[in-house]
Amino acid sequence: MTSSYAVYDDGVLRITSTANPPGLAISGEIDESTYPGLLSALERGADGRAEMHFSLGGLKYCDLAGLRAIVCATGADGGGPGLDRRHGERRAVVLHEIPPQLMTVLRIVGWDTTPGLVLDTQASGAEPRSVGNMHGSAVV
């Protein structure tokens, strides 16, 4: 990651924008009190991007609504931040450093197979690569 800057920080949830790979690093806690901050950061961070990376290693807590917002950055719910709903626009969303609890919830709720969502399950430290396009089952 070559550069980063904070796009949201209320002391509980901290979100920084990352340029390479393009996306957001999220740390802290996501619940209904920080949810609006997550949404606004997603809107701004997603703007014009066909691919987004989320680094979740610092995420201490994430409720179901927060996880849904991250997964829906793919546009899988027919919308998604910065996507053209009318044209069914989609993007690739790559999750890195997924906390074990979050992975369990993704599987329980079945969102782990959301089209466009890529789960980087490699050990942290490996350099993430671009997924190219969202249609392949890319390994990053």
Binding site: D63, R68, V71, T104, V105, I108, V109, T113
Partner: protein
């Protein structure tokens, strides 16, 4: 008339059988028809019936998806989720294949499921919960194109279980003959008339927390309690998640706050929310599978998937939500990691 004949809605029939022949006379044509139609076809039953069914189906048996009943959804909420997921994943895959092959149906296709619940060895509380689930399926799976028949073995089951089955299934099947069940009860009415036993009162020495809407404080409390009870690691994280989701749900409902009490009993850590003046009137809350489209009670659904038990009660003096997770003495997850949650 066969149960798979029409499309678009959940169909749910009971087959009470007295011997192997009667089981096969209903199960084999049901499954064979599904295979002939190219429908994803799943048999969830006892190992004995899986063997019988496979022998009777011959070569076609290899095309049937199958699971032992005891392992396809450990508790009723997980069972509902397992049925729903089967429909979502298998039907969607078939819908895609249809559209790619120039077929007419691009949307999710119909699936059929033979689903025999396990009753032997269950406690009265579990039997009540599984019976309520059979009834609730008619509501929570209504959007799913599933044709389901549920075999009930009259040789081994108590008369009350068989009698309830006729109230929880809109149709009854004998061989290939399907008829409406005259005793079918509206699921909401059935839930009201089968409310479950009163919740255990918290013991006097239970730890208490006055939840005023501060979810971070709630999570700190339950996290500390989990450590106190020796519930650690992933199990503690999942308990914190379940408790926080229940707290978030109660916070959104008037009058808002609640009192959480926790204690340990043999086999379980119990988390008991009481909301004086609160009211919960949806008998299917926490059973409707969460989707990407937000729905009321999604957080309670997740808590229900995580916990061994989630009981909701509502009465004149308020409402209560009680959760149970395995205590530190539980050895199942030691013996088979991942048995309670997807690995």
């Amino acid at each position: 008339m066969s149960i798979g004949a029409s499309t678009g809605t959940f169909q749910h029939g009971v087959c009470v059988y007295d011997d192997d022949r009667q089981f096969l006379e209903a199960a084999v044509p049901f499954l064979a028809e599904g295979l002939a139609l190219g429908e994803p076809t799943l048999a969830v039953t006892t190992p004995a019936n899986l063997e019988l069914m496979s022998a009777a189906l011959g070569k076609r048996a290899g095309e049937v998806d199958y699971a032992e009943s005891a392992f396809f959804g450990r508790r009723p909420p997980q069972r509902v989720a397992a049925f729903y997921r089967y429909w979502k994943t298998r039907a969607a895959a078939r819908g895609r294949a249809n559209s790619e092959n120039g077929g007419t149906a691009g949307g999710p296709a119909r699936v059929r499921v033979l689903a025999e619940p396990v009753w032997a060895g269950r406690s009265a509380r579990e039997i009540a919960a599984w019976t309520r689930m059979e009834s609730a399926l008619n509501v929570v799976l209504a959007p799913a194109s599933i044709s389901m028949i549920c075999p009930y073995d009259a040789r081994t089951l108590g008369a009350d279980i068989v009698a309830d089955a006729l109230c929880t299934h809109p149709a009854a099947i004998t061989g290939e003959r399907l008829s409406p069940s005259a005793r079918y009860a509206d699921p909401a009415a059935f839930a009201r008339s089968h409310p479950g036993a009163p919740l255990a009162a918290p013991p006097a020495d239970a730890a208490a927390f006055a939840f005023d809407g501060d979810l971070r404080a709630l999570r700190r409390f339950i996290s500390e309690r989990a450590a106190e009870y020796g519930v650690e690691g992933d199990r503690a994280d999942m308990l914190v998640l379940a408790v926080s989701e229940v707290g978030a749900y109660l916070k959104r409902r008037p009058p808002g706050g609640a009192v959480l009490r926790t204690w340990e009993q043999p086999g379980a850590v119990v988390c008991d929310f009481r909301q004086p003046g609160g009211s919960i009137d949806d008998p299917f809350l926490g059973l409707r599978p969460a989707e990407l489209e937000p729905g009321d009670g999604d957080g309670l659904w997740l808590a229900n998937q995580i916990c061994d038990w989630m009981e909701i009660r509502s009465g004149a003096d308020g409402c209560a939500v009680q959760l149970q997770v395995p205590s530190r003495r539980d050895q199942e997850m030691v013996a088979q990691p991942g048995i309670r949650y997807p690995a």
